[in-house]
Amino acid sequence: MENPKTNELLGRLLGPAAPEVGCDICFEELDRYVDLEAAGQDADAAVPGLRAHFEGCPACREEHESLLALVREDTGAAG
């Protein structure tokens, strides 16, 4: 049986397997990515490497979640 805590720790130690951008590119592209997501478009196809970066970087992941929630609040969509 696999232990979720061990899996989580392995994930943090080894990071995402898929190619990822760094934090600087993530910040540059985050607004475009979020607007595409909020519009229901394929943000991952338009901005490859961001999704994997969110997996590997908790800080950028939190900021992505917040920006998406804020934009959705602006547009009246459920977060």
């Binding site: 805590k5 899996n7 392995l10 600087d24 607004d31 920006l67 929630a69």
Partner: protein, 216 residues
């Protein structure tokens, strides 16, 4: 003391913006036009922008405010909005018109607020940069039902951390991935940036994955 919208608007003037305005929504176009103007229109636009940024900063602080008093939360949000206003005005030429202007501006406020909340939470704490890795791995995981293969993998990782990582890579990986130090807090203590630290983390992870492939 942090600058207010009024003092910032007096000190900074945004240079003209080339945004491809045809793709911009009317609200973004209007705000950008005003931020390129001067006098009263510019001051009004800065005040509007600051209000947007303050809303975003409060939104972020409210999501992450673990343990903050109301006063601390309000202070951090206001400081974040002030810093974000400076950053947005300084980088206005970088706006490419590929998103709504508000979305682009919000990200600066969210970033400033998130960083301030993380630093505030760790302001009086020693950073755990070294650790008994195997002890942490053991404490964090196994029970009698633990997958043996998974546990062996953790042992290989611990071995790889000692054998293939540089001392700096090991210190960064332990702090961020094992001890949960926020990357912005570690960046400040090591006098570097989030981007540079993440590059170190990325390289360390790549070395560990290669080590696992070689030893498996």
């Amino acid at each position: 003391m942090s600058p207010t919208a009024a003092t910032v608007s007096g000190a900074l003037r945004a240079s003209p913006v080339a945004t491809g305005s045809s793709v911009l929504d009317p609200e973004s176009q209007e705000l950008l036009r005003a931020l390129k103007s001067s006098g009263r229109a510019y001051d009004d636009a800065c005040a509007r922008l600051h209000a947007l940024l303050l809303r975003a900063a409060r939104f972020e602080v409210a999501r992450r405010r673990r343990g903050l008093t109301g006063f601390e939360a309000d202070t951090l949000a206001t400081e974040a909005a002030d810093d974000a206003l400076l950053a947005v005005l300084r980088r206005l030429d970088d706006f490419r018109g590929l998103s709504k202007f508000t979305t682009w501006a919000y990200k600066f406020a969210l970033y400033e607020a998130a960083v301030k909340v993380r630093k505030h939470a760790w302001r009086d704490r020693e950073l755990p940069l070294e650790t008994d890795l195997l002890g942490s791995l053991h404490a964090g995981s196994p029970g009698p039902e633990e997958d043996v293969e998974m546990h062996e993998r953790l042992g290989q990782i611990a071995e790889g951390m000692n054998d293939v990582l540089t001392p700096h890579q090991r210190r960064v990986l332990v702090a961020l991935a094992v001890n949960g130090v926020p990357i912005d807090v570690l960046a400040e203590r090591l006098s570097t940036t989030r981007g540079a630290l993440y590059k170190t983390l990325h390289d360390a992870r790549a070395k560990l994955r290669a080590h696992l492939e070689e030893t498996s």
